[in-house]
Amino acid sequence: MSGSPIRFDDVTVAYDRHPAVHHLSGAFAPGSMTAVAGPNGAGKSTLLKALMGELSPAKGSIDRGGLSSRDIGYLPQAAEIDRNFPLTVADTVMLGAWRQVGAFGGITGTIAGRAREALSAVGLEGFEARSIRALSAGQFQRVLFARLLLQDARVIVLDEPFTAIDARTTADLLDLVVRWHGEGRTVITVLHDFEQVRAHFPQTLLLAREMIDWGPTEKALSPSNLLRARAMAEAWDSDAQVCRRASGSSA
């Protein structure tokens, strides 16, 4: 599952002209497994939204390495999902086959079979006919991971996938993420738990609106980097002037 890297070239994404991601340059290598870490308000989710094309950069460009954003399996943090919707677990998982069946194609036995396999891979064997309304937050996250399994995407982008999830579920789902990496998929995950990052993610992008560091996790999460990240995220200037930094020079 090789391909071209996903490259950010001097990307700035702004809300109301204030930069949330500021002059970011770098690349996610194909098959790499990268944690995007940083304090609250560091622009982590914004970065992913820009990657998915939901926000367009105020400046700079994003090269998805020939992939369209549709080829990326994306699990947003605060998904606009209505968890009270009267849908079965199987139907939810099979949405992951959208690229194959689309709006009108028939659900084949193969797809139903893959949905069953995906459910047992996330530890929800036999949950097919249950309503998603009856699931706990952890079980529901497992269902969303099963949907990602069905999507079978080359690049997988997760935004804080383990928030409000218990330790066992987190461990199970982390195993899946590691497996995806082993299969050669590119994994990009926003995480705030530095211990998780150190334990499982070879690469880290430490973000505090500006890129602090991007590289091997041990180096990126050095104490001095973390200190800088905290100081930068807290700085917010409501009277900021127009940014005049020359393109290409990053902090």
């Binding site: 998915m52 939810t92 949405l95 959208w98 009108f104």
Partner: protein, 290 residues
């Protein structure tokens, strides 16, 4: 008084009752399922707003043709309803205003405009007809219109069921996989508008939405899966049409409001005894072992 004379005779004896029955049953079959989706999208009030939005178009049709012509008013209502839906969608995408807020602004404008237009030409009776409908005066042309709209609605729902559900359940996902969510959202709004147009001849612009939202609420109380909700909503709407007509006939009540009140009554009973209703909270049943 036999059961036959109570339930069947009014329809055997009078053509206008038969036509009203066909119209209200057809109306219920289409509007019920549309209402379920509206409610699941948390757009209950948008349905209300849309029904008001239909008014100025209908009134304009009335003004141009000069009498209560179904075709002119239906067409006008369709155009007005769709414009408001499109404009509100546009406003919520282009500004910070949420869709329900922009709907509210547009429908209030529409309502005022509609009443003004009717008052330019018509009498108060005309205004009453438009606002509250005349189900007993439905002619065969209107039945064809209502039946056609119901048929189209049910076929369309069956055809775009999956993208509609996906768009409703997880719009972000549909966007990410390139599922053309806005297209289906618009198609859905179109279904809402045409069902309101179908309803307004029978129940008037103010109460047409009652055939959507009340059955949808009833369905929420009884069913747990979406297909079952559709069935419950469609059948309770149709039943409200049938029973409401009978009550209005026997007690000489105005038929439109009676139909809606019958639906309200079913809703009230469901609130108490439905599986998700209130009584369940008061009756303690022993919990299960696992």
């Amino acid at each position: 008084m036999t059961l036959h004379s109570l339930l069947i005779e009014p329809f055997v004896d009078y053509g206008f009752m038969r036509r009203a029955l066909v119209a209200s049953v057809a109306l219920g079959l289409g509007s019920g399922p549309v209402g379920v989706l509206l409610m699941l999208r948390r757009m209950s009030l948008v349905g209300d707003a849309m029904s008001h939005a239909v008014l100025p178009g209908a009134a304009l049709g009335f003004l141009i043709v000069g009498n209560l012509s179904l075709l002119a008013m239906g067409l006008g209502g369709l155009i007005a309803g769709l414009s408001v839906a499109l404009l509100s969608g546009l406003v919520s995408r282009a500004t910070d205003l949420k869709e329900d807020a922009s709907f509210a602004s547009f429908y209030l404008t529409s309502l005022a405009l509609g009443v003004l237009i009717v008052s330019l030409r018509g009498s108060n009776i005309d205004l009453l007809h438009i606002l509250f409908g005349t189900i007993l005066a439905i002619d065969s042309q209107a039945i064809v219109l209502v039946g056609g709209i119901t048929t189209f609605t049910l076929l369309a729902l069956a055809l775009v069921y999956r993208p509609l559900v996906a768009e409703c359940f997880d719009p972000g996902f549909l966007r990410a996989v390139g599922g053309r969510g806005p297209l289906y959202h618009f198609l859905f709004l179109l279904l809402v508008v045409i069902n309101l147009v179908a309803g307004f001849q029978a129940l008037g612009t103010l109460m047409a939405v009652g055939m959507m939202m009340l059955p949808a609420a009833i369905a929420q109380l009884w069913a747990r899966t979406l297909p079952m909700m559709f069935v419950v909503a469609a059948s309770s709407a149709a039943a409200a049409g049938f029973l409401g007509l009978l009550v209005s006939y026997h007690l000489s009540f105005a038929s439109g409001p009676t139909i809606i009140l019958t639906a309200s009554l079913i809703y009230g009973v469901s609130l108490l005894v439905g599986p998700s209703g209130a009584l369940r909270r008061f009756i303690k049943r022993p919990h299960l072992a696992g």
